[in-house]
Amino acid sequence: MEALLLSRWQFAVTSVYHFLFVPLTLGLSVLVAVMETVYVRTGNETYKQMARFWGKLFVINFAMGVVTGIVQEFHFGMNWSEYSRFVGDVFGAPLAVEALAAFFLESTFLGVWIFGWDKLPKTLHAASIWLVALASNLSAFWILVANSFMQEPVGYVVRNGRAEMTDFLALLTNPHVLYQFPHTVLAGFATAAFFVMGISAYYLLRKANPDFFRRSFRLALPVGAVCILLVMAVGHFQGQHLVKSQPMKMAAAEALWESAEQAPLNLVALIDEKQQTNPLEISIPGLGSFLAVNTFRGEVKGIKDIQAAYAEKYGPGNYIPPVTPVFWSFRVMVAAGLWLLVLAFSALYFWRKGRLEEKPLVLKALLWSIPVPYLANTAGWYLAEVGRQPWIVYGLQRVEEAVSPVVSAGAVLTTLVVFTLLLGALAAVDGYLMYRVVKQGPEEALLAPAAEKPEGVSLWT
């Protein structure tokens, strides 16, 4: 395989790993902060125990977010040097600000929070987890500002053979980021809420520690229900915006080959990318148009027309992303979202009736649905990034122009294999440690660290 394809694989693999850990960080930091705040204000020890138990899971998860994140920052220079030269003037700035404004705050105060339980006044300790929560979400904002430039370049001019920034404020108010930021952050909150609900459901099923897990559940439930609703609503408007800003991505996401006055919504389809047609599709007529432009009789451009228009605008070439995976990732994301929506509102219904704990099926569904938000998050990024192909910066630079010319395919293959295995192994270990903490339950979280044997095993023996 050539270096380009391997570099793309590497970015995909490491990004997916990274984003397995980020969403939980975004949401769980806030939930833990709320728990500790309740403890500080009411003095109720259960909430302190909650902050410690969920906080322990938060920290284990956070560690992987950090180590997978280091790779991400160095990637651009290592594998995509020509991209870095071409857009560094614009793209480097939000990354640098992310480190300066968010990473420092996040890492420093997480250290304070972990080690400061008995060294700081209660309020200050609670404030430090709030700062971690704020900084995590702030860092999401800056990285999405950077990503949004790749999706919808704004505030620049092409000069001296590269994109140069002309308006920093335009980057921050990029229409793309105004949709993408709430969509991503709400997805993170929902991920965390379903994580807390799922684990709480596990304990409620076993009727162990009911008070602790009822309170945890009650905290997470409204967050989950509201955020899953909002994330889908924002996603809808984001889709409508993309129809205008990245029509090719959305046409591929719908597998809509021909422009149509009354575009159908394909629920499922068999896609033949060679013949550029769908041999089989189950669809609802007119709904595609309605979702895209708010009317059942609105024109939606199809892939073939957009391709022709792009070939005229950007010169000959293939501007069609891989349609099948983009189409299906979109469906996976939406289906996962709908499932979570149903789940959250049925849980809410039974909770309000006071009968949730008599409904083992709902509790089991909540437990087994812990991975579902992760699936939706991954599919969403898949849609965003693969749907942008062949561009690395939409309309400005193609991936093949962006890859490092001096890095050999062998070098990329080596690093790809090692990163995949190493991060995979660490992710597995991380999952195992979280599983253990959950199994041990909340009593452990309050106990002092287990008594140590004074004689350890020496490293040298």
Binding site: A63, I70, F74, S84, R85, A96, L105, L433, G456
Partner: protein, 334 residues
């Protein structure tokens, strides 16, 4: 002073901060198998850097981000050129971060010893590689007229650059031992001190070798300021040894920190106005001008950096004050 120069200085400051701060926590990692005789001792060692290491590492991330934003060509040439070296560093840093968080979350001896070794390697490799990287920057590497690195990984290794790696490694180990004399109690502190006395001698020797080779191999000493900074580094390092012998561990730590600061400043001073020296043709070197971002970007970034850096220094400094006490074996998180 134009903004290109200011950003060169800012990046030098970020690297200096990174070497000063992560210098001691890499040092602690390197000394882990030598000083930690029992599991509890190794936990104390890890807890001594527990609240700090992650925040310290952000200095590197920020330096990387700053290079990207202010000098995109430097970022592109350096990271794609030093590909395998950076890859090794990333693997080390990934392992190290995981080791710190994972190690004490399971109590099987095999598990703990595995992560202890990962911690050791994950601290040793970056320390060594940074010495190699910095000496390569000033010595020059094959960069062509298109700003592309044309060498291989093995072109980065030479007696001079390996001497650079060794010197930085020993400096960090020494700095780490001095940090431990301040953060641990009784027996462990005493052993850190006696190990520090030996490491100090080795560090002085390695730094001397590095300075002599820098004089012979590069043009950094052509500038009087650089030569002076190297003298300052040597003096500070000798002072650190002297203070340690006299039992003034706090002053010794400050002095070893100064030695790191002066050494870093000397290399960046000798490099300026270049950011990467081309060994093929002097005209092909990357400089603060031909590698830089546009004036607008530099201006925006200057405003942001000058606002935020003091705030960061303030709250990071505050955490060192919060956790100023020695680490007690009775209350351990890691």
């Amino acid at each position: 002073m134009d903004l290109n120069v200011l950003w060169f200085i800012l990046i030098a400051v970020l690297f200096t901060g990174y070497f000063f701060l992560e210098g001691f926590d890499y040092g602690v990692g390197i000394l882990l198998p030598f000083l930690g005789r029992s599991d509890i001792e190794r936990r104390v060692l890890l807890n001594s850097i527990g609240p700090f290491w992650d925040g310290n590492e952000v200095w590197l991330l920020t330096a990387g981000g700053a290079i990207f934003a202010a000098f995109p060509h430097w970022y592109a040439t350096l990271f794609s050129g030093f590909y395998l070296a950076l890859f090794l560093m990333l693997v080390a840093l990934i392992g190290r971060g995981a080791a710190l968080e994972f190690r004490s979350k399971d109590d099987r001896p095999f598990w703990r010893s595995l992560w202890d070794w990962v911690m050791f390697g994950g601290s040793l490799v970056p320390a060594l590689l940074w010495g190699v990287a910095v000496t390569n920057l000033v010595q020059g590497v094959p960069i062509n007229g298109q700003m592309q690195y044309t060498g291989t990984f093995f072109d980065l290794l030479s007696p001079y650059t390996l001497a650079g790696g060794l010197a930085i490694l020993l400096l960090f180990a020494f700095h780490g031992a001095l940090f431990l004399t301040l953060k641990t109690e009784e027996d462990l502190a005493a052993r850190s001190r006696s190990l520090g006395l030996k490491l100090g001698v080795l560090a002085v020797g390695a730094l001397f070798l590095l300075v002599v080779l820098s004089y012979l191999q590069t043009d950094v000493m052509d500038r009087a300021g650089t030569a002076l900074l190297f003298w300052g580094a040597g003096t500070a390092l000798l002072a650190a040894c002297g203070f340690l012998r006299a039992g003034r561990c706090g002053w010794a730590f400050v002095s070893s920190g100064l030695a790191i600061v002066f050494t870093t400043a000397a290399f960046f001073g000798g490099l300026f106005p270049r950011v990467m020296v081309s060994s093929l043709h002097p005209e092909w070197s990357l400089t603060v001008y031909n590698a830089a971002s546009s004036p607008y970007t530099l201006k925006v970034m200057t405003v942001i950096a000058l606002t935020l850096v003091p705030v960061v220094l303030l709250y990071q400094g505050w955490t060192y004050w919060v956790f100023r006490r020695r680490v007690s074996a009775r209350r351990l998180e890691y």
